[in-house]
């Protein structure tokens, strides 16, 4: 007996995907249309940027094609890194933690077909984003360098093995890790590694100050520059082979060797991967059922924290304590804080190097930039709120039976989510604005405006996050990281951007008047101050309260 075929094993996944796509929900068409427009806009922007850049490169004789090739190589190597990391994480779910595994593993399924099916699933899960990004990339190269219709086949035939190799390596790494640690612990370790490596790359990139590399005086001669460009960055990586295959086709000198290397490597890797799978999977799968030591001792901080929260009353205190415990015990949640810290360092680092003093920088400009800095700070806050506050209600999904059957008002639930998110966000926002303000040596007026505005905006953004998170919940998801990228998350980000824009616009007039009066001695109208700042405050208060009120009604009417 041969058991089910490879296609049969993938059929439920394909069918589920299809039903998700055709599921008719209220407003589904509108959502798809909006996502489609946004997707096309995203493609359009990437294509436009690359097109301009490549047209510019094409105009430079000798080094133009070399630069284009180097750029492609750099992009592909980052793709390769992303693919490797996401395959390691995805294969943990597909091979070890997925719900269908008990059924499939218990069935008379041939190990090789099982491996192949899971490999395809892992590859699809972790590669779709890279494929989406690759479309405008290769289109731009094909259009600028006149690749012709056959270019599509060249790209597809090089890209398929390019996707296979990291899938096999990633799943093999996971298989080995699971054989060493229990799967749930491995998940924790992997999420920390993933976040740390992402943070490390950003930090390194920033500390290198790439803008300085563009200076031609960095190289002694043109020949040295060309020789650097001609040297392969990573001759043993599939990214380099894809680059060589694509660029040789576009340079009218098709080279079959990279294609041969790509396919033979992919084939060899599949064979090796399958052998490792046969040797280690059964043991790894057994180990994946373990969860390791999960003992939790009551810490002294828990007692102190509980005492500190006692003025809130018992119900709210318990809700807050629960939120905090769940957050810090979920590695996938708190590990994001590391990335956040890195981004903040980069942000402050950039502010520190802004040329805020010297020739041409007037008092007016030196104070206007810190004011506009609020837009960026607001955007950072919205991104954090999308990651940490927006998913709050969705994460209650499966335990909603408990909250709904208890005498807990949905108002208390939502406001506890609001405060648990807002207080740390507020500390962060104030620290960010105050530090950047001090670094830019702003006047007292701008500092007061900045601190006041960011305080109001934090409330409003958190209110919007709780509101939109409740109106567009994702109760079915198992991965909290997917919630902010949902349709509701997108709407929340858009609303936050509109809010930030509106607040800054309302405050622009009084700030401008103040700075003009200080710089040029013009008259100030106090009424203008009141109206501008008053309207901004009113907008923020509305954006805080109204979404939560709507969310409360929605939550009370929700049928689970």
């Amino acid at each position: 007996m041969n058991g089910p075929t490879f296609v049969h094993l993938l059929w439920p996944k394909w069918q589920s995907m299809r039903s998700r796509a055709v599921k008719t929900q209220t407003g589904a068409t509108g959502r798809f249309a909006l996502l489609g427009v946004l997707g096309l806009a995203f493609w359009g922007i990437i294509f436009a940027i690359l097109y301009r850049l490549l047209v510019y490169f094409r105009g430079i004789s000798e080094i133009g094609p070399l630069l284009a090739g180097k750029l492609l190589g750099l992009i592909l190597i980052s793709f390769f890194g992303m693919l490797l990391l996401s395959n390691v994480i995805s294969s943990l779910s597909t091979f070890f933690l997925a719900k269908d595994l008990d059924l499939v593993v218990a069935g008379p399924v041939d190990w090789l077909r099982f491996y192949a099916a899971k490999l395809v699933e892992t590859c699809a899960h972790s590669s779709w984003m890279v494929i989406l990004m690759a479309v405008p990339l290769f289109t731009a190269y094909g259009v600028v360098y006149h690749g012709g219709p056959m270019f599509v086949f060249v790209v597809v035939s090089t890209f398929i093995p390019f996707l296979i190799v990291p899938t096999v390596i990633g799943s093999a790494i996971t298989l080995i890790l699971v054989n060493v640690f229990p799967a749930r612990r491995t998940k924790d370790i992997l999420s920390v590694i993933a976040v740390l490596s992402a943070g490390g790359v950003i930090l390194l990139f920033r500390l290198m100050r790439p803008e300085q590399l563009a200076r031609p005086e960095g190289f002694r001669s043109l020949i040295e520059f060309i020789s650097v460009l001609k040297t392969p960055t990573s001759p043993y990586l599939p990214s380099e082979w894809v680059q060589t295959a694509v660029m040789s086709w576009l340079g009218d000198e098709p080279d079959a060797l990279p294609l041969y290397l790509l396919w033979s490597t992919a084939a060899a890797f599949i064979v090796i991967g399958a052998l490792i799978h046969r040797a280690l999977y059964a043991k790894g799968f057994t180990k994946a059922q373990e969860s390791g030591d999960r003992w939790v001792r009551q810490s002294i901080f828990s007692g102190i924290f509980s005492k500190l929260l006692s003025p809130l009353g018992l119900v709210r205190r318990e809700l807050v304590m629960k939120e905090v415990r769940l957050f810090f015990r979920d590695t996938t949640q708190w590990s994001q804080l590391i990335l956040l810290a890195v981004l903040v360092v980069v942000y402050i680092f950039n502010i520190k190097f802004l040329p805020m003093r010297g020739e041409g920088v007037t008092f007016f400009v030196a104070n206007l930039i810190p004011f506009l800095n609020l837009v960026l700070a607001g955007f950072v806050l919205a991104s954090i709120a999308a990651r940490f506050i927006f998913p709050g209600v969705s994460l209650e999904g499966r335990t909603m039976w408990l909250l709904r059957s208890s005498p807990l008002s949905m108002r208390d639930l939502l406001w506890s989510k609001f405060w648990v998110g807002t207080i740390p966000l507020m500390f962060f926002a104030l620290a960010l604005v105050f530090t950047t303000g001090v670094l830019m040596k702003v006047t007292d007026f701008i500092m007061i405006v900045s601190v006041g505005t960011i305080t109001m905006m934090t409330f409003a953004i958190a209110g919007l996050a709780v509101g939109f998170g409740t109106l567009f919940p994702r109760f079915d998801t198992e991965n909290a990281a997917q919630i902010p990228t949902s349709f509701g998350g997108l709407l929340f980000m858009m609303s936050s951007i509109v809010l930030i824009g509106a607040v800054i616009t309302l405050e622009a007039r009084p700030v401008f008047s103040y700075l003009a009066s200080k710089s040029f001695g013009t008259m100030r109208d106090p009424m203008e101050m009141w109206i501008g700042f008053g309207a901004a405050a009113l907008l923020c208060i509305t954006a805080t309260i109204v979404p939560i009120r709507i969310a409360k009604k929605r939550l009370e009417a929700l049928e689970l």
């Binding site: 749930r184 969860s291 999960r294 003992w295 939790v296 001792r297 009551q298 018992l314 119900v315 205190r317 318990e318 809700l319 304590m321 629960k322 415990r325 769940l326 015990r329 979920d330 499966r398 335990t399 909603m400 039976w401 408990l402 909250l403 709904r404 059957s405 208890s406 005498p407 807990l408 008002s409 009417a557 049928e559 689970l560």
Partner: protein, 252 residues
């Protein structure tokens, strides 16, 4: 103690619960039976205030669940059929959290929590995260949580699923003692032996309507079943004995 009047739940054109009238008095252990998809869970979820009825009323004590949900829920404990709990809390923390939802805390709650966990052999697991609990252990924890605030009424959906024989026995004794003390329990179950031996009265629901209601003797007489057990009565009333011949099925 539980009073349902014309309780109805519709999902679009489908009527899951169709104008049910039912009263479960104080101190009664009421068994709620029915085939899969008959409307048992929907009814219990409406009583627990999780679902809003499309029509009719639910009263716990004298409190209308729709009009005064907080007061009604304060005297109710609900045990769902699927044990979803916060994975990253320990058993002890979960019980403390649930007690907090009912505005209860302090030494009494801690003591009661310990006693309940010990009763279900979970004492050793109290400081371990729920994510490492088995299905049965989660079920035991949820049952413990329904008792932590000493509710007057307990609504329980399929309590025996996933429980080991010892825990199942403990639960039966606990339910009996609880109702003996004047509290009320409404329990849905597919374990007919449990319903037959434990419940004071039984209601059988099918297609959203109550088909039969009464004590075992009353059910026997209403279905003209002589001395037959609950299984036969159930099959007779729900028409399930008109099933296909096994031979036809197995030879198919």
């Amino acid at each position: 103690m539980i009073e349902l009047k014309s309780l109805t739940k519709r999902y679009g054109s489908f009527t899951a619960v169709d104008a049910i009238d039912l009263t479960v008095p104080k101190g009664e252990l009421f068994g709620f039976l029915g085939p899969n998809g008959a409307g048992k869970t929907t009814t219990l979820r409406m009583i627990a205030g999780i679902l809003r009825p499309s029509g009719g009323t639910v009263k716990i004590g004298d409190v209308d669940v729709s009009e005064n949900p907080m007061a009604a829920k304060a005297i109710l404990g609900y045990i769902p059929d699927r044990p979803f709990i916060y994975e990253k809390l320990t058993g002890a923390e979960f019980l403390r959290f649930v007690a907090g939802l009912y505005s209860q805390s302090g030494k009494d709650v801690e003591h009661r929590g310990r006693e309940l966990l010990a009763l279900f052999d979970l004492e050793e697991w109290r400081d371990e995260l729920v994510e490492s609990y088995s299905h049965g252990m989660r079920q035991k924890l949820i049952i413990s949580s329904a008792f932590i605030h000493k509710p007057d009424v307990i609504v329980v959906d399929e309590p025996m699923v996933g429980l080991d024989p010892k825990a199942a026995r403990i639960l039966k004794d606990l339910f009996r003692e609880y109702t003996r003390r004047g509290h009320t329990i409404m329990m849905s179950t597919h374990t007919l032996e449990v319903a037959e031996t434990m419940c004071d009265r039984i209601g059988i629901i099918q297609g959203g309507k109550i088909r039969a209601l009464g004590t075992m003797d009353e059910l026997r007489s209403s279905s003209a079943s002589g001395t037959e057990g609950l299984e036969q009565i159930f099959l007779k009333l729900t028409g399930e004995n008109a099933a296909r011949e096994f031979v036809d099925v197995l030879d198919a």
